[in-house]
Point group: D3
Chain length 238, copies 6
């Protein structure tokens, strides 16, 4: 059974990472992953929230969809006076993922906020946000080193993410919107440069899944993430 | 290295499930899991939200902590005019988990809302909510059958959840608060009566983790969930 | 005319006060008053709100009903982004009542917050909250003395509350939900250990009432409060 | 000991009730009670809230203080996104008080909303709102009769309110702001045209009070309310 | 074609400015402009918002309509948890207009807040608020000089506002509600004592308008504002 | 005195209008105006808000800045639970401007919502939003005609906007951020295809301005708008 866009089951969508697209942000990256488009900016502020220990820094993320990112227009959060629960969940995931590659002591008492705003959503917006958010974060941290604010780059590894799922009986990598809507099982993986897991979320939307199936999906993601990390390195000029 | 409460690494905390503790709710269950205490009520309403297809029912969950559930008092959501993002994330998980055991066509055009209110929180409140929420839901559905509203019980399986984690180098089942705070890796599992996965969430708070470690943690959870499901069956009188 | 639960007109519902039911709170009390169940916790914080004079402490209360406390499920305040006006009114009453038994200079610059969360509501939740809130507060203040934080107990008296009403032509003490719904006149009384009034609220829901009727209702409450204060003393071990 | 404005202890402040001061509202009344100034408008809408039985009408009230009503400017509710709890409590009182003089069946399926906006607050704003709200309500109901919408006036009695309190050892009627701030005990009374009670609220802010003191304060209010009702009748041209 | 109230096309509505109508506010003015009634109060606070440079003061405005200001009752902002966007826009205009007549260095580190609350709205409420707000502000500043807080009056000019519009083919000054509703083009002008513009807002609600028409409308406003400034001077006793 | 970017005083910034950049929206346009970047999408819904007369359509706009659009990151509206007042004002302007070019009867009972989200803000975001919003709207309306939903294009004219200002003594067209911050007088103009005014807003931020200066600024805008309309026509392929 062919995929809607003709990809092989273990094939990623075309992924473009364009760093430096924002004139003002300390770091930025435009992510195009098939028809999903996310703008990620990294903003550095010289203070930390109260819960952060003295001498350490903080990395946090915010995620939002433009009202017409999807096939149907949605009302803005502010007109409902309520952060969409899905956005609340996703931005917590992005924040945890990006904190996993930063040495917070080396970062010092400053906060990097990664804003991930989805201009166009065609599935995989949370994983695209992690992948592009890492590039924006990396730019911002390099910028701090270049400007002499930091002596040393406080990055310990790289971070990327991708989804996989069970659609019918097929194991598919990097689901687009139609595939995601039809998926029985949906799994998101965040991994570091050593191929270790940082976050794993799997949901049996249509049916439960075996431990074996779960393992196969993680393996599929691991292969995809290696390709994505090569694209990240290329985008960052290394 | 002994655990703080003297348990073996693969040992659950004492778990008590007391169904029927609420005079008015169609279903209810008080969960005591070590020092974690959650009251779950299931409320049946004869209508469904707009997104639900005609002829089908809906199951949803809300999760909240009483302000003094924890070691420190927290402000109520309403005084901040903001649902705690952690609660938003958890109640979405509980809702997905409990929908996975219900035949929504057999339920018919009604909604069951599972309210999980944490009276005392000592780690594992989300998994205790799934476990107790299932009992409350089951009571409410049996009640609909007994009252003749439904001809047939719309349950397809049972659902339970537990956590496991890496603390230091130990693989521990069913983390209490102190263990959870110190965990390098934290994994939550929801499984059905066949031992299949419904939800899996794993986070490397302190360090990344290998695919192998992830598999071992899931296996540990699987064993715990089998014990929990026996306690659920006993509580439900079967 | 017999009461719905067979009580004499001037008879209280069975009242159980269980202090110390919360592992973390400095003071706590579970109140069961007939089918009304309220959990009261007292939390001590080492700071005061801005309006409190230097050198003095503060006592405040919050009141809320769990969504399924009643016969019908209600939406949570946070989903309406609005504190229920009835809760706003009741928690102001509880706060005033409990401040009336505390020597705020002896308490020193700290705040005791009494959270009253109604698990099950069958009438009289505000008076049960005052009665149980006093027990929780008393526990917390004793705890401060035992821990050596305070040299002297800053309690000046005890505080308890009860309702009475006119249902048909009967003067009834301690109304349950059905009686409260049918009441022509509803009166709530808070009194101290000397039998003096701290708060009095009377409402002619169904008809106006004479000054004479109001006096009789207060006398009825006064007798009930004496019994409640004996139960409070017993619960507090004195 | 002389009162701050030279009144006798049982003397009301000068009270002016000016009906018809609003060009658009169906009923209106400007209340000047000493330095307290409240504008009350009554708005008639041809619908009722969902909880009102078919065939019946509804009377409700909203109360608010202009930001500079008091000696110090306060922030508007909307800038805090929160109805002041004190306003929530007061508008519930006004609503109950005014419903007590209306035959809701005769009113038919319409809602009268009494808005009480305090332009200047010098104590007694809630009782002034009840007193003036009655005049605005009465105007609006007469207007419905004059316009032929109603065949019969749905008023069953009149309603007025006043405060009394214990300041030092003095029993004072109709407390102004300075007296209210210094009061040991503060009591508000709403009465109908037969001198019966509709609402009674008493608070021991500075000390507890005896049942005897409470009775004396109600008697003092009763005498004041008779005078106020004469002023209401005069204002309404009868 | 005669105007609804018989005025000439370039004739203002009767305008009454009554300063000093508020007992507590540092400055105040009641504006009656035809059937439009606005109460303006000026409140002085000895602090400034964070964005104001050290050594300077700030002038800001808030605008709101009482719920029954208009022909139909509106819901209060707080019940919608949302400042009406029209109010947001208008209060920004009033604030800018009034800052234009104050020397903020001479004012020193204090804030004057002008609250404009519309008691009755019959068109022209924003311009009436600017006109009356200036009088309230002027009173408050004189008051600061009289009390010796300021050595010198920090007013640099006076400020007044009026509307004009195209209704049918007529150029009309100072539109009332009916005219405003029917206007093709609506223009608001704020001018200083030298007849210079401070704010200009013109909207083609019903049709576009030529640059020539716009000029004529400004000229019409300029003549009206001269008259209004004479009334302001008279009201301020100069 | 040279402008910061070397333009002549009456010279526009480079303006790029790229229609059709959004895969899902019925109409869209990316606006680049110097360093200002705005994404405009037009969404068509087959319903109208309650205030719109039967048989007519509606055009409305929403405006927002991404949190890092500017030199400094701002908090999102939702985290403050408050639509930024500046955004409230601007989106009302954009909505009025775009309604001015649509025949609402020909549009029929549907709503077109123009979302203007500022990705990068360097001055002139409101005028760029009007200019690009028109292109997105035009695309969406053409789309309705092409799809046979509408028989006839309901556009009556085109709409574009630009700013001008007094900086020092210079009259400058199309202010960038630095110029806008330093401007004494700031004027925004919306005009139709006939060079007639639809909206005019002028503010004397730094000083008042003469009627003559205002006229000159409008003339300057008129010339700029003619150029912008040529770019719009080219972008729309005509």
């Amino acid at each position: 059974m062919a995929r809607i866009d003709g990809r092989a089951n273990d094939q990623l969508r075309p992924l473009e990472l364009t760093p430096g697209i924002h004139k003002f942000a300390e770091g930025s990256c435009l992510v195009r992953c098939g028809n999903t488009v996310v703008i990620c900016t990294a903003s550095v502020e010289e203070r930390t929230p109260p819960h952060v220990p003295e001498g350490e820094g903080w990395v946090t993320a915010e995620y939002s969809m433009l009202p017409r990112a999807n096939r149907e227009r949605s009302r803005r959060d502010i007109s409902k006076l309520k952060l969409a629960p899905r956005s609340a969940e996703i931005q917590r995931l992005i924040g945890r993922a990006l904190r996993a590659c930063v040495d917070r002591k080396k970062l010092g008492e400053r906060t990097v906020t990664i804003d991930c705003d989805v201009l166009q959503g065609d599935g995989g917006t949370r994983t695209a946000s992690v992948t592009g958010g890492y590039v924006a974060l990396s730019c911002a941290l390099h910028n701090l080193v270049e400007r002499g604010v930091l002596a040393e780059l406080p990055l310990t590894t790289c971070v990327a993410a991708v989804s996989a799922g069970l659609v019918g009986d097929e194991l598919l990598l990097d689901l687009c919107y139609e595939e995601d809507s039809a998926a029985q099982v949906d799994l998101n993986c965040v991994m570091n440069g050593a191929g270790e897991l940082i976050e794993l979320q799997a949901t049996g939307e249509g049916r439960a899944f075996t431990v074996e199936e779960q393992r196969t999906l993680v393996d599929l993601c691991a292969r995809g993430i290696r390709e994505i990390q090569a694209i990240q390195r290329a985008a960052l000029g290394g």
